[in-house]
Amino acid sequence: MNLRALVVDDEPLARQRIRHLLRRATDIDVAGECANGLEAVKAIEDQKPDLVFLDIQMPELDGFGVVEAVGAEAMPPTLFITAYDQHALRAFEVHALDYLLKPFSVERFHQALERARRWCIHQKDGTGPNLEALIDGLRQERPWVDRLLVKQGDRHVLVRTAAIQWIEAEDNYVRLHVEGTSHLLRQTMTGVLGRLNPAQFRRIHRSAIVNLDCIKEFQPWSGGDHLVIMRDGTKLTLSRTFRDQFGEWL
C-alpha cells in the first residue's frame, strides 16, 4: 500500500514543487496540502498521514508549533523544510534528523525521501528519530512563544499571548482569560509560565498569573497581600509569597 503524504507550506509554489517531485515517487500519494500550521494540525489529526513535508516558517503557527500541537509522539515521520533557520539546523544536526534546504535539487529531495521512507518503516518498531528531544531542545533555545494553541471542542484556536489578560489555575488545566472569553489549556501553572515571556507575565498567586500590561493598580490588602486591579475591573490577589517580584513597584 502506498504511503500517504501531507504537504505543508504557506507558499503555493513551494507546495507545487514538492507535489511535482513526488510524481516520480510511485509509492507515495499526496493526501493533502495545507497552507498554514492550523490547517496542518487538523489535517494530521483527521487524516493521519504516513509522512509529512513540513515547512518551518509559516504564519501564526510554524512547523515546530505544529509538532508541539499534535504532540511529538503522535507526529508521523516528518521531513522538515526550511529556507534558512540557523537554530533549527543546529537542532536537526544534534538530533540526527534529515531536513531539506530550499531550494533543493531533485537528487537531494529523493535522498531525503529515502531516509523518510526508512523512518516510516522503523516507526513501527519505535526506532525512528526522536522528535520529542528535538522539540525539547528547541524549547530551551526559544523558550517563549507568541501564541498558544488551545482546543475548543474539535476546533483548534490560536491565542496570541499578548492578548491574554490573566491565567487561572483550574485542576489539571489552566484557564486563559482573553478579552471577554476564556480558554482551557491542559497544562500546569509552572508549565504555562515557562512558555510565556517573564517580562510580560508574572505569577501573583498559587492560582493566578497576570499580564503586566493589563494591570491597572495595586492596593495594599490585609496580611501583606495586595489587591491587583486589572484594567477590565477584575480583582485578583497578589499573595505575600509572590510580592518580591514586584519589589520595584510596591
Binding site: 504557506d10 509554489l13 514543487r17 529556507a83 534558512y84
Partner: protein, 360 residues
C-alpha cells in the same frame, strides 16, 4: 538656531588683559603716576565696558546679523546705534571713574563745572577707540556664532550620512534576507517546470531587484519613480511567491513621479507592512501605496489590512526613517502611524514638496 552661549572665562579674561595693557600704556605715558592707581583705574574702566558689552551680546543674541544683504539693514543699523550708545555711556562712566581715581582726595565731591569742561576733550580722545571695542564685542559674538553654526552643520551632515548608510544597509539586508532569497529561488525551481515564462519573469525581477543596490543611489534624494521601481520589483517577487495571498495596489499620480524623495525611505515601511501586517495572516491581504499632494507636501501612504500596528513597538527601520526626515527636512517632514488591532495599519509619510536646503 539656538542661543549662542559665550565663553564667559574668555570674555572677562580679555577685558582684564585690556585693562592691564592700558594700565601699562598709561604708565609709559606718565611715568610718575602711581602703578596702583593706574591698575585700579584701567581695570575699573574695562570692567565697566565689559558690563555694558553684555547688553550688546544680549541684543546680538536676540537679533543676530544673519546676512550681509541690504534687506537686513535694520539689524545692521540696530547694532550700529546700540554700539554707539553703549560706547558713549561707557565713556561717560569711564571719565567719572578717572576723575574719581585721579583726584587726591577720593571722598571730596566732584566739581560739576570742571567735570563738564573736561568731558568734550575726553570724548574726542577716546570715543573712537571705545566704539571699536564695542564693535569687537559684536564681531566676536558673530564670529563665535558662525563657527558654532558651521560645526553644527558638519555634525548634522555626518549624522545624515550615517542614517543614509544605515538605510542603504537595511535595503541591502532586505535583498539578501536569506528567507526572501532562498524562498524566491525555491519558487523559481517550481515555476521552471510548471510555468517557464513565469520563472523567466521572476528571474529577471530578482535580477533587477538585486541590481538596484549594486548601482545603489549614492544620492540622499532620488525621484519617487526610482524608489517605487525598487519597491515594485520586491513586491512583484513577493506576489509571485504568495500568489493569491498578497494583493498590491499602487496609486501614484503621474505628476508626482519626478518628485525627489529620500532614497530607500519606502523600503522599511513596505517591509513592515508585509512582515507585521500581512505575512502572519494565512488569508493574506492587500498592500496599498498611495501618493497625493496636500498643502505643500507630498503625502505617501502605505496601508495594509493586516494585524494592526501596536503603538510603542517601533523597530530600527522606523527609527531610521524618522531620524532621516528630521535631518533632511528639519521638522517639515513627518511620519505617522495609525492602526488598530485587527484592522490594519496606515503609515503616512509627509515630505515638503520643495527640496531641502543644499540638496536641490
Amino acid at each position: 538656531m539656538e542661543r549662542v552661549q559665550p565663553k564667559w572665562g574668555w570674555y572677562w579674561g580679555i577685558w582684564a588683559l585690556m585693562g592691564l595693557y592700558m594700565a601699562s600704556w598709561d604708565l609709559a605715558m606718565y611715568p610718575s603716576a602711581s602703578l596702583f592707581r593706574m591698575l585700579v583705574l584701567n581695570l575699573l574702566q574695562n570692567g565697566t565696558w565689559g558690563l555694558l558689552g553684555l547688553f550688546l551680546l544680549w541684543l546680538a543674541n536676540r537679533r543676530p546679523i544673519e546676512t550681509m544683504a541690504w534687506s537686513h539693514w535694520r539689524v545692521w543699523a540696530l547694532h550700529l546705534l546700540a554700539s554707539v550708545a553703549v560706547a558713549a555711556l561707557g565713556l561717560l562712566i569711564a571719565y567719572l571713574i578717572s576723575l574719581w581715581v585721579q583726584s587726591d582726595e577720593w571722598k571730596k565731591p566732584l566739581d560739576l563745572a570742571m567735570v563738564l569742561k573736561g568731558l568734550p576733550r575726553f570724548y574726542r580722545a577716546y570715543f573712537h577707540t571705545n566704539l571699536l571695542f564695542m564693535w569687537a564685542v559684536v564681531a566676536a559674538f558673530h564670529g563665535l556664532r558662525i563657527y558654532r553654526k558651521y560645526k553644527a552643520r558638519e555634525v548634522e551632515a555626518a549624522r545624515l550620512e550615517t542614517r543614509f548608510a544605515e538605510a542603504q544597509n537595511m535595503a541591502l539586508r532586505m535583498q539578501l534576507q536569506p528567507h526572501f532569497l532562498f524562498n524566491t529561488l525555491n519558487s523559481i525551481s517550481a515555476l521552471v517546470h510548471s510555468n517557464p515564462d513565469g520563472a523567466d519573469e521572476m528571474i529577471s525581477r530578482l535580477g533587477d531587484f538585486l541590481r538596484t543596490t549594486l548601482d545603489a543611489p549614492h544620492e540622499q534624494l532620488l525621484p519617487l519613480r526610482r524608489e517605487l521601481a525598487f519597491i515594485q520589483d520586491y513586491l512583484a517577487i513577493e506576489q509571485i511567491r504568495f500568489q493569491d495571498r498578497l494583493r498590491v495596489e499602487v496609486q501614484i499620480p503621474a505628476d508626482l513621479q519626478e518628485h525627489r524623495v529620500p532614497s530607500f525611505i519606502l523600503q522599511p515601511l513596505v517591509e513592515n507592512a508585509l512582515k507585521h501586517g500581512l505575512a502572519d495572516r494565512p488569508q493574506g491581504g492587500t498592500l496599498t501605496i498611495r501618493g497625493r499632494k496636500e498643502s505643500g507636501s507630498l503625502v505617501l501612504e502605505i496601508q495594509d489590512d493586516g494585524e494592526g500596528f501596536t503603538p510603542g513597538r517601533e523597530g530600527v527601520g522606523l527609527a531610521n526613517v524618522r531620524s532621516r526626515l528630521g535631518l533632511l527636512y528639519k521638522g517639515r517632514g513627518q511620519l505617522d502611524l495609525l492602526g488598530a488591532a485587527g484592522r490594519g495599519t496606515l503609515v503616512i509619510l509627509r515630505l515638503p514638496l520643495n527640496p531641502p536646503e543644499g540638496e536641490a
